[in-house]
């Protein structure tokens, strides 16, 4: 039997559907909202609906954005011939935090996962291909496609798939380096990471 009054139970249930929120956390959030002034709840509801109504996929890079094309694709100082392929919109944020990259992105919205049956048709691969072909048709100089995908089996499978598929377009392709984290200690690095760091060494 539930001891929560139905509206509160519904609110707890709604929070519990969010990723990383268990029953206890859902209750904590629900009770917090109920105790707040009405304005707080209204602001939250309005923000949720506004985000849901306005955010969509950018028609060029498939990133999440309120405008189409997104702010990055519209930016005049961005190098349009440099495309960084990432799995998720959160990866764009991570790369933007570096303040080092001045090109554009393409967000695949996931990775190929053979054992889960997730294939390229479920991702934004077709959009990437059409974008590159359109750029070549328009005479835009494609300098490089950089794959910034996780060093996991899924990331490797996606990178290998895309490189093989795009080979015929004759565009320079690269993959970000893998290895030791900054400030990390060699002694505590695992064997596989260290081996990849050695493999990806560069001359100085």
């Amino acid at each position: 039997m539930s001891y929560l009054t139905p509206p509160l139970g519904r609110l707890v249930g709604a929070f519990q559907k969010l990723p990383g929120i268990g029953p206890k956390n859902a209750q904590r959030l629900a009770f917090h909202i109920v105790r707040q002034p009405r304005q707080v709840a209204e602001d939250l509801a309005e923000a949720l609906l506004n985000a849901k109504d306005t955010i969509r996929f950018c028609s060029i890079c498939s990133n999440l954005s309120a405008s189409d094309p997104c702010e990055i694709c519209q930016h005049s100082e961005r190098d349009q011939g440099l495309i960084c392929v990432v799995a998720d919109a959160r990866d764009v944020l991570a790369l933007e935090r570096t303040h080092e990259y001045r090109g554009t992105y393409h967000v695949l919205q996931g990775l190929i996962s053979p054992m889960d049956g997730i294939g390229p048709e479920q991702l934004k691969v077709r959009e990437l291909l059409q974008r590159l072909q359109q750029m070549q048709t328009d005479g835009v100089a494609l300098r490089e496609v950089i794959f910034a995908l996780s060093p996991t089996v899924e990331g490797d499978a996606t990178t290998l798939y895309l490189t093989r598929m795009l080979r015929s377009l004759d565009i320079p392709m690269s993959r970000i380096a893998f290895g030791l984290p900054m400030g990390g200690d060699l002694e505590y690095a695992d064997e596989v990471t260290l081996a990849r760091a050695l493999e990806g060494r560069r001359s100085i």
């Binding site: 695992d190 990471t193 493999e199």
Partner: protein, 272 residues
């Protein structure tokens, strides 16, 4: 009776990781193949967090020496060190896909607490061969036939399943994927879904079935795919599971082809 150590005890085991899936905020559940205990499931705490020391080691198709702590439902990974990382598979799409199919099929057929020393060794041998550049499709065919025999599903493909006559290279032979049997021309009528088997495919199947180690095959990619498709049907029928990774073995579309973006399509399926 369980051959696992008593609860809360630690034990060391060499384990091949077949699969992993996220659990909770930062944990993973690993599906492992071991010599002594067959399949094992273990939780690896915090391995999806960036500072995890084990995250680099715990990935599919890696062989690690693990220290596990017995739990009521799941074991817990306490320590790990790499025995064989098979890292060059990550540079070859076909080899990686073949390895993943081996993993999925093994997970579908093996049981927990059922020792699998021979299969474990065959899996490791297969990955080593893939790493050294052995043709992925030929190796996968060998492994799948080995697994079928190892798990007690041996079918003698020297004989017709209908009349039990020995099949010759000159015969018109048909394979029935759902039952995993071969039929000669007179026995074929009534066997719905039976597909024609080319003589070189029959020879390859018969050779592989007798081979203790992977064999190089004199088959082109299309013929290999035909055999893989046949085995996929048979394995799915036996296990009652859909084996999703098989779809990724078939040829990749390239930019400029009619439909460049699709899960690689089944090709090489023989027509009578």
């Amino acid at each position: 009776m369980s051959n696992l150590p008593p609860q809360r005890h630690r034990f060391d085991v060499a384990a091949l990781q077949l699969k992993q899936y996220p659990y909770g905020e930062g944990d993973q559940i690993l599906l492992l193949l071991t010599r002594e205990h067959g399949l094992l499931r273990a939780i690896a705490k915090g391995t999806r967090k960036p500072r995890s020391k084990l995250a680099g080691l715990l990935a599919p198709l890696r062989c690690n020496q693990l220290t596990l702590v017995c739990g009521r439902n799941l074991h817990r990974v306490e320590q790990a060190s790499s025995l064989q990382s098979f890292s060059s598979l990550q540079n070859d799409y076909d080899a990686l896909m073949a390895g993943l199919v081996m993993g999925e099929v093994t997970a579908a057929f093996c049981q927990e607490e059922d020792p699998q020393p021979a299969l474990f060794d065959a899996f490791c041998l297969g990955l080593l061969q893939l790493q050294s550049g052995f043709a992925p499709r030929a190796l996968l065919l060998w492994f799948l036939l080995y697994l079928l025999e190892n798990q007690g599903f041996y079918q003698d493909w020297r004989y017709c399943a209908g009349c039990e006559r020995q099949l010759q290279a000159k015969d018109r032979v048909f394979l029935l994927g759902s039952a995993g049997v071969l039929l000669c021309q007179p026995c074929k009528p009534g066997a719905e879904g039976a597909r024609y088997l080319y003589p070189e495919q029959l020879l390859a199947l018969q050779q592989l079935q007798q081979a203790p180690e992977p064999l190089p095959l004199d088959l082109d990619e299309r013929r290999c795919n035909g055999l893989l498709w046949f085995l996929q049907q048979h394995l799915e029928q036996l296990s009652g599971k859909s084996l999703k990774s098989f779809a990724f073995l078939y040829p990749l579309p390239e930019a400029g082809s009619a439909s460049p973006v699709a899960t690689p399509v089944k090709q090489g399926v023989n027509t009578p």
